[in-house]
Symmetry: C2
Subunit: 418 residues, 2 copies
C-alpha cells in the first residue's frame, strides 16, 4: 500500500503558511508501516484540485487530504472530490443537523453558507467532526497502484481537528490501524547522546518492539519508547519492560519522565524533604532562578536567588570578598559564592555559578576553558568545573541544568531508597 498526502490552500502554496499537517500524517502512517511516496500542495483552484486528485488516486492506494472543507467560496475540496469521481454533491441530513446544532449551542443561527458543509460526493461517507463545523469525507474510488481501489480521506486543515479525526475515525480503517500505539519518554541528564546510545546497546536496534529512539534538547537526553499492541494492557507491559531496561542501563542519569525537567524533579525532592534552596549566579545570568520559579508551588522549596555578574554586586549582596578569593573564575570564588549565599538566605542548600571565563577574540567554544559550579550544604561545599565547550546557543541552559543536577545527585546519595 502506497500513500499520498495532499494539502489544499493558496496560503500554503504562496508560502504565507507552513504546512505541518503533511508531516504529521506521514508520521502516523509510518507508525502503521504505510509508506508515503508523495506530498502534494495545491492552491485553491478547482481544476488544479481535480487534476491533482486524479493523479493521486492513480499512483497511490491511500490519499489523505487536508484543508478546503470550510464554508467559504475558496473551499473546494468537496467539489474537487465530486469532480474527480464524476458524481454530484448530495445533502447529508445528519450532518446538516449536526452543524445547525453546533451553531445553536453557541446561541446562533447557522449561516446559510455553512449548508455546503453538509454536502458530500454521492457514494462517500461523512467523517463526523466532534470539535468543529467541517465534517470530513471518506470515499473509495477506482484506482490505486493495482488499478482496483483507492481509499480517500479528507480532513479539515485545523491541526487539532485533523489529528482527532484521523486517530478516531480513519486510523482504525487502515491495515494495522486497529492495533494500539502507546508512547512514553524517559529523560536523562549528564550523558551525551552517543554515550547513551552506547549504554543502551541493542535496545535501540531498528525494528525492535517496543522501539526506542534517542533525542536531545538543550542537553537533556530523552529516550522515546513506542509500543505497538492489540490491547492497552499489552502496550503498557511492553513499555514497562522497556522502561526497566533503560533505567538499568542508564542508572542515575535518569531523572524524570514525560515533560519533567530537572527543575520539577528538584523542587519535588526538596518539598518532600522540607528543605530549601537559594542560588547565586554570575555567568548563567539568572537562568537557574528562572527555571525554578517556573515550577508550580516552588515557594516552599526555592526561596530566591542572586544575579551577581559583577564584583560590585557580589560584594553588595554576599559581603566582602575573603582574602583567598582572587580570581573571578575560580574554585575559591564558586566555594565562597555558594557558602555565603546559603548563609545570607538561611537555606539548607545553595547553588552557585561563577562568571564564565573570558574568551579570546576568535577563540572557538571548542577550546573554551571551564567555569565553576558549587553546592553548599550544611556540612560541606562541593565545587565542580564545567567545560564551556559545545553549542553556545544552549550554553546557559546546559550550565543551569548542570548546577541543578549537582544537587539532584547529592540528594539521591542521601536517600538511596529513591
Amino acid at each position: 500500500m502506497i500513500a499520498e498526502i495532499i494539502a489544499i490552500g493558496s496560503e500554503l502554496t504562496s508560502g504565507q503558511k507552513l504546512d505541518t499537517n503533511s508531516q504529521w500524517l506521514s508520521l502516523q502512517l509510518a507508525d502503521l508501516g504505510i509508506p508515503v511516496h508523495f506530498h502534494t500542495t495545491v492552491a485553491d483552484d478547482l481544476d488544479a484540485n481535480i487534476a491533482v486528485l486524479q493523479a493521486a488516486t492513480q499512483r497511490a492506494d491511500l490519499v489523505l487530504l487536508t484543508g478546503g472543507l470550510g464554508p467559504t467560496l475558496d473551499d473546494l475540496t468537496r467539489q474537487a472530490l465530486a469532480g474527480m469521481a464524476g458524481v454530484d454533491l448530495v445533502l447529508d441530513k445528519a450532518s446538516l443537523s449536526f452543524i445547525e446544532n453546533f451553531f445553536a449551542g453557541r446561541g446562533r443561527d447557522m449561516p446559510e453558507r455553512n449548508r455546503i458543509q453538509a454536502m458530500f460526493p454521492a457514494g462517500s461517507e461523512p467523517l463526523p467532526n466532534p470539535v468543529g463545523t467541517a465534517p470530513g469525507i471518506w470515499m473509495e474510488v477506482p484506482g490505486g497502484v493495482s488499478g482496483k481501489v483507492c481509499r480517500v480521506a479528507a480532513f479539515p486543515g485545523v491541526p487539532s481537528e485533523m489529528h482527532r479525526m484521523f486517530t478516531e475515525q480513519v486510523r482504525p480503517r487502515l491495515p494495522g490501524g486497529a492495533r494500539i500505539i502507546r508512547r512514553a519518554r524517559i529523560n536523562c541528564f549528564g550523558v551525551g547522546e552517543s554515550r547513551a546510545e552506547g549504554l543502551l546497546g541493542d535496545l535501540t536496534a531498528r525494528g525492535r518492539d517496543p522501539e526506542i529512539g534517542i533525542t536531545a534538547h538543550e542537553a537533556t537526553i530523552t529516550m522515546r519508547i513506542i509500543a505497538h499492541g492489540s490491547t492497552e494492557q499489552e502496550c503498557r507491559e511492553k513499555i514497562s519492560t522497556a522502561d526497566r531496561a533503560v533505567r538499568e542501563r542508564l542508572g542515575h542519569y535518569v531523572f524524570g519522565v514525560e515533560d519533567e525537567e530537572l527543575e520539577h524533579v528538584l523542587i519535588r525532592a526538596l518539598r518532600d524533604r522540607r528543605e530549601t534552596l537559594s542560588t547565586a549566579e554570575s555567568g548563567s545570568g539568572g537562568r537557574i532562578a528562572h527555571c525554578l520559579t517556573g515550577v508550580d508551588d516552588f515557594e516552599d522549596a526555592y526561596l530566591g536567588g542572586l544575579v551577581v555578574p559583577t564584583d560590585r554586586a557580589r560584594e553588595a549582596m554576599l559581603g566582602p570578598l575573603p582574602a583567598n578569593v582572587a580570581e573571578e573564575v575560580s574554585e575559591p570564588m564558586a566555594h565562597w559564592m555558594a557558602t555565603a549565599c546559603r548563609e545570607r538566605f538561611g537555606t539548607d542548600y545553595a547553588l552557585a555559578v561563577t562568571q564564565y571565563p573570558f574568551m579570546e577574540d576568535g577563540q572557538s567554544m571548542r577550546d573554551a576553558p571551564s567555569a565553576f559550579l558549587a553546592l553548599a550544604t550544611q556540612s560541606e561545599t562541593i565545587v565542580r568545573p564545567i567545560s564551556l565547550a559545545g553549542n553556545p546557543a544552549i550554553l546557559r541552559s546546559r550550565v543551569a541544568k548542570s548546577a541543578m543536577d549537582l544537587l539532584r545527585l547529592h540528594l539521591r546519595k542521601l536517600t538511596p531508597s529513591s
Copy 2:
C-alpha cells in the same frame, strides 16, 4: 507565469524531516509576483521523480527543485532531470575541478562517488555552489502552461546553500528578478498590534510601495518594510521615507531597529550616560536579569539583580519590611523593593516587579488583576500597575519588557534630544 516547487527526499515524505524549503522559495517568488500553484514532495525513487517532473514541466512555467543533488546512491535529481528531458548525463570539467579543489582545500582527495556531482543533463547549465560540493542545475525544456518553454532550477536541499544560490544565480534570471528588494524592521513596545495598525493608517495598505507589514512577538510589535527598486539607492530612499513616516505616527513607542530588543537599547543608553541599574524581581523570576545579562558588555551598565519570590528572600536581601508594606502585591511593596534594591546595589536606577497576584481556581487570565512595577531613581520612585491579562505563555516576557520600558521612557524624558 505559474510556478511549481518540488522537494525531493524520502526523509520528507516519511515525515522524519519537515520541508521548509518550499515555503521559503514560495515567499521569494511572491516577492517577484510569480504565483506558485503547486508544491510536490516526492520520495527518492527515480520513476516517481521523472513522473513528477514531467507533470510539473507541463503545468508550470517555472519549476524549482530542492534536494537529491548529493553524492550518494539515493540522490537522483540529476538522473531524473535527464530522464524527464530524454538526454544523457555529461561531465562538466569546470565543476569537477571545483569539487576536487573543494576537497583539496580541506586536505583530502575527492572521493570517487563525488564525481557524479559534476555530471549534468546534456543541454543544461551548472549553477555553481560557492559553499558546498553540490552544484545546482539550470535547464529550459519544452513545456509550460503555454506549451512553449518551462524553466527548471535544481538546488541542494541544505537551506543555506539553496538560499544563496537562488538569490545570486536564479533570481536575476526571473522576470522582475533584476529588481532589487531591501527590507528593514522597526521595533515598538507599549502598543498593541491593532492599535499600531490604526496609527499607521494608510501606510499599511496593500499594494503600497514600500510595503509595510506588522508582526508581534512576545509583545514587541515590529513594522516590516519591504522596498522594491531598480537600484540599491532607490530602495534605501524608499525605506528611509517609510521609516520617517512610521516614527512620526508611532512616536515614543519606537525603541529600535532590526534585531534590537529593549535590553540592547537600555544597556546602550545606560552606558552612554555612564549610569548603572540593578533589579529586584518577584513574579518575573529573574527574567529581566536574564535578558540584560545576555547583552554584550552589559557589565558597566547592569550590575546585578535579586530574584526574591518569597518574604524570606526579600527580607534577607533587602532588609526588614517597612511598616507601611503589608501586601505582597501592592504599590508600597513595589516602591520599597525598587528603593531598597537601588540602595543595596548602589546603582543609579533600580527596577522592581512584585509577586503576581494569586489567581483563583478557574479564573481566566482575562479577569486577572494587576501586579506592580517600580523604577527607583536618585530623586523619586515611580510605581505602575501592570495587568496580567493576556496570553500566559508570554506573560513573563511582557512583564520584563514593560519594566525595562519604564526606564527607557524615563531616560528619554531626561534627554529630549535622543
